[in-house]
């Protein structure tokens, strides 16, 4: 049987709102975004987060943007990260294609920064399917998936509690074991549930909704 590794994205995406914002820079904080805030100047270029803003007619957009309503995702080419905590959005004058110039009226500028990839300890873990200890009903809509603890402790477990449709425990267990046992289509990492990226097992018959973790420390 091929080796499989089961990924559980435990934390939802961190977000930080900059409402009525009056500058072209967005400074992340540990209190509002996540602790720590991401480091490295290439974090955005490597797909770590996205910046979006609510459309307003007084905002000047580069030619790349054609949307005239709702939430608009800023193209990464218009974003510079200082590697510490501050994102700068290029103006439409500086970058006529991807740039965006805020409205002169602060109340027209509502930006949001959203995490796209895990980077904080505890955001998510992949577990070796060989160390799956068992799956048990935890509640009417929850199943506990126990793995040998990553601490190596011989007598403890890490527990992933998966929330799914009512009384869908058997469907969840079958879906999970089908992935573990599939030699033809499955290899490497399989996402069981990822709250950050809103992903779940392929062919999910259990209506998987989310996951919470209790980890041995």
């Amino acid at each position: 049987m091929r080796d499989n590794y089961l990924y559980f994205g435990i934390d939802a995406a961190a977000t930080m709102a900059f409402d009525n914002h009056t500058t072209q820079t967005l400074q992340l904080t540990t209190g509002s975004f996540d602790s720590p805030v991401p480091t490295g100047t290439n974090f955005i270029a490597n797909g770590g987060l996205k910046v979006s803003l609510t459309y307003h007619s007084n905002i000047t957009f580069g030619t790349y943007y054609t949307q005239t309503a709702g939430e608009i995702t800023v193209h990464p080419n218009a974003l510079t990260y200082d590697g510490t905590d501050t994102i700068t959005v290029a103006t439409a004058a500086a970058d006529t294609v991807y740039g965006i110039t805020k409205s002169g009226t602060g109340a027209n500028n509502d930006w949001d920064v959203t995490q796209l990839k895990p980077y904080v300890e505890g955001n998510g873990y992949v577990y070796n399917a060989k160390h799956l200890r068992g799956i048990a009903v935890a509640g009417s809509t929850t199943t506990a998936v126990n793995f040998k603890a990553k601490t190596g402790d011989a007598v403890t477990v890490d527990v992933m509690t998966v929330t799914h449709g009512s009384a869908k425990h058997k469907e969840f267990a079958q879906g999970l074991t089908d992935v573990i046992a599939d030699d033809n289509k499955v290899s490497g990492m399989v996402v069981v549930v990822d709250d950050m990226r809103s992903l779940a097992l392929p062919n999910d018959a259990a209506s998987i909704a989310s996951v919470a973790a209790t980890l041995d420390t």
Binding site: T39, G47, G122, Y127, G152, G188
Partner: protein, 108 residues
């Protein structure tokens, strides 16, 4: 198939205690992000104490945690004829992921 994972820590020459480690892939427990530029692999303790873990900390490009995790899992799922799988060998310049740049070993 008996598979083993190989790591070095970039020492040259690689000849001191704990400069390199080969560990049975079956001992791999879990892996997750630690910081924007590091992810940890957790193994059952090589010393078989039953109360600790061997940890490999991989350094990688910022924000590439999940990409590295996927690459490591893909490498571990491989079935090379000799069972020898290089995850991170900064000493020899060989990595299973293009994003990994270094490795550190703890609790050997």
């Amino acid at each position: 198939m008996n598979k083993n994972l190989y790591f070095t820590i970039g020492s040259a020459p690689s000849d001191a205690a704990d400069d390199a480690l080969m560990i049975n892939a079956d001992l791999f427990l879990a892996m997750g992000p630690t910081t924007a530029t590091t992810s940890k692999m957790y193994f059952l303790d090589r010393a078989n104490t039953g109360a600790a873990e061997t940890i490999i900390t991989l350094t990688h490009a910022e924000g590439r945690n999940i990409d590295v995790i996927e690459d490591v899992c893909e490498a571990m799922a491989g079935e090379p004829r000799d069972g020898f799988i290089v995850i991170a060998d900064p000493t020899g310049g060989e990595f299973c992921s293009p994003y990994i740049t270094d490795a550190a070993l703890t609790q050997l």
